[in-house]
Amino acid sequence: MKFDHLQILKSGSWVSAFAGAALLGASAAAVSQDFDWKQQNGSSVNALLVSHQFVEALRPLVPEFEEMTGITVNLDVLAEQAANEKLLADLSSRAGTVDVFMTSPLNNWQYATANWLEPLDEFIDNPALTSPDYDVGDFFQGVLNSNRWTRVPMQGIGEGPLWALPINSESYLLAYRPSVFQELGLEVPETYDELLAIADKLDTGSAEFGLITRFDKFWDLPYLTFGTMLQSYGVEMIDADGNLQICSDASVQATDDFVTLIKTASPEGAGAFTWYEALQGFASGQYALSLNEADLFAPVYQDPEQSEVSDDVGYAPTPLGPDGTRKAGAWIWSMSINAASKNKDAAWLFLSWVTSKDTMIAMNLNGNMNPVRASAWESPDVVAMVNSWGETPGQYSDVTATMAEVAAVRFPPHPELTRMLDRWAQAVQEVYFNGTDARTALCEAQDDIGKMFN
């Protein structure tokens, strides 16, 4: 099992467009063993981080790094939106106060376009700056390369300079309550058709409501959670010929089905549910099913301190689309170096230590999920932890392996993409809240988005 998982993830099509991208890594191998970690002794690094389990996993390890290198690390941890605002202030003014920060490919399309990011290839290729045991080939190449981009809008993702290193990855799955499904005599749905067929029965058992999913009015709706459903219906934002597909037949169908599902099986007001409601709602035991939610919520569901369902939760892959397709969105938290930083070498030493094999495994064990290095999935401790999650042993691992096969960033890299997807999300919201005809709403959104490309 473990072996299969590893093979799949290693070759995983996270970013399907560039399976053939060149590997790095070999260059760093032939270096002397005594790497000088003390070379930046006495300097300091400011890291701006988003409040996330990653940070809680990292924090206790930092003194180790400080002792090894003599570098002082100042962790500045803020809520996601506050962190983004502060980061924008620092990057756009080129003040260089922040040396290294948490980001994602989507955000980086904006930052890289503005020349705010330091390309990382030169650091990785420099044996004086990168420890010989770093092994960049150990990253899942799809995940790693999602941080490459040529900076040509609409193309070149997975190629060109490396703008960030991944620190964890997220895809989507179904989380369900085995007791509720058993009580109702229902099977966990394998397709969206099956899900639609049982949607009105889900709340007839001990669960208060049928299903919950994140459904807010921002870009993450068509990008991540509902995006996973859209892609399984065969919808991509732009087809191979460069035409927008936002109001295609498949997209209209997916939107109608999605809104029907929510109206049938979710409580009033579900159109404003964010991560918080989705995670806390399911953890509180109110729902029978959590649709296309982040797989890395699992550590919370499994923790009796934070969850009412720790002994009553199972995982399944996201449902199949009408023609049996399964595709899924992906989110990859990453870290970049500020191009205006005055301590780039020290910042790199910190970043390369954070993303090194040993540090990554230590953090995976402390809740930073999912691993982005193959060596982590080989670690017996990580395997043992993950195997205990789910209705049956190994269920979570199997499901994430299945999802890793189909998870990808299937959007055109463009600095304005979040604004475009916000508009798309608004159309879905109109269908849910105002009962607007799906085709009308989506075609209007498509027209507006088309104008944003100019």
């Binding site: 389990q53 996601e80 202030a89 003014s93 995670l279 953890a283 109110q286 982040a294 890395l296």
Partner: protein
């Protein structure tokens, strides 16, 4: 006559109760939330009966167990101290600069003093976002970023206009004859201000400083952009309860309750001064 009055006063009492409830309920609700554990907070339907816990306060004030090194203050307490230093310092500086300025604007024969006074007021209503980026750049270059001095200076944009405008109308209320009497006795302007005007301006100064303190205490944007880990104020501390995937409601509620205490004390005990300060110069 009497029978007609009763329902009217009962109606009024009911209206008052509803009115009070409308304003007090959110505070009570947050207070209750701060006493719940996480599972009680997210439970549905909401629980009014639960076994209260002080865990949220403990974690807010003493820090989460095992996360602190010896001699290190919990993050929230540091933010609270930062806020006290920043808002306290900002108000003192604003009083030091603002009171003489208000006196000059109220009594002096400065040409264009209305425009000057209006310029100060405009600091208050100009959106802070407009100036925050240039300030950030300047601060990082001159070394004011993430320092108490820098924060106290930036908070002058909040405190100084309030002090100047409240004190200006207060000084204008003082009968000019008192000052003229002092002059006849041979006092110069500074002595008049120090020995005659200031002693009778106590309530005005107190209310100006309290109002300035509350506005400064509640400010978020300067703390977000111009402060770093060393000088971050308590408003940012409350936001820290929002993590990527969940909001720690209990901690946030406890943090909000604790940080509301100074404002509540000021508002309750010094209410008389505040209303006097707010209406000062309103009727003339």
């Amino acid at each position: 006559m009497k029978t007609a009055k009763l329902p009217e006063s009962a109606g009024r009492a009911l209206a008052q109760v509803l009115f009070i409830g409308f304003f007090v309920f959110p505070i009570i609700w947050i207070f209750l939330m701060s006493l719940k554990n996480f599972r009680d907070i997210i439970s549905y339907p909401p629980k009014f009966l639960f076994s209260p816990t002080l865990q949220n306060y403990r974690e807010t004030i003493l820090g989460a167990e095992g996360t602190l090194q010896a001699g290190e203050l919990p993050e929230y307490v540091r933010f609270l101290l930062n806020s006290m230093i920043i808002s306290g310092g900002a108000v003192c500086l604003a009083a030091l600069l603002g009171i003489p300025a208000a006196y000059a604007l109220a009594r002096g024969g400065l040409p264009g003093r209305k425009h000057i006074a209006f310029t100060f007021l405009s600091f208050r209503f100009a959106p802070e976002l407009m100036i925050i980026l240039p300030m950030y750049l300047i601060y990082t270059q001159v070394g004011l970023y993430d320092t108490y001095a820098g924060m106290i200076l930036s908070h002058q944009l909040i405190c100084l206009p309030l002090v100047i405008w409240i004190m200006m109308s207060f000084f204008q209320d003082i009968p000019i004859e008192i000052e003229e009497a002092a002059r006849i006795d041979g006092a110069n302007i500074l002595l008049t201000l120090r020995a005659v005007i200031l002693p009778i301006s106590g309530p005005g100064i107190a209310s100006a400083m309290i109002i300035a303190f509350i506005f400064s205490w509640n400010n978020l944007i300067f703390g977000l952009v111009l402060a770093g880990p060393n000088s971050r104020p308590v408003t940012m501390g409350i936001l820290q309860a929002m993590t990527f995937d969940q909001i720690k409601w209990g901690l946030m509620a406890a943090a909000a309750m604790v940080s509301a205490v100074p404002g509540m004390i000021a508002a309750t005990y010094l209410q008389r001064h505040i209303t006097r300060g707010l209406t000062m110069g309103a009727v003339r």
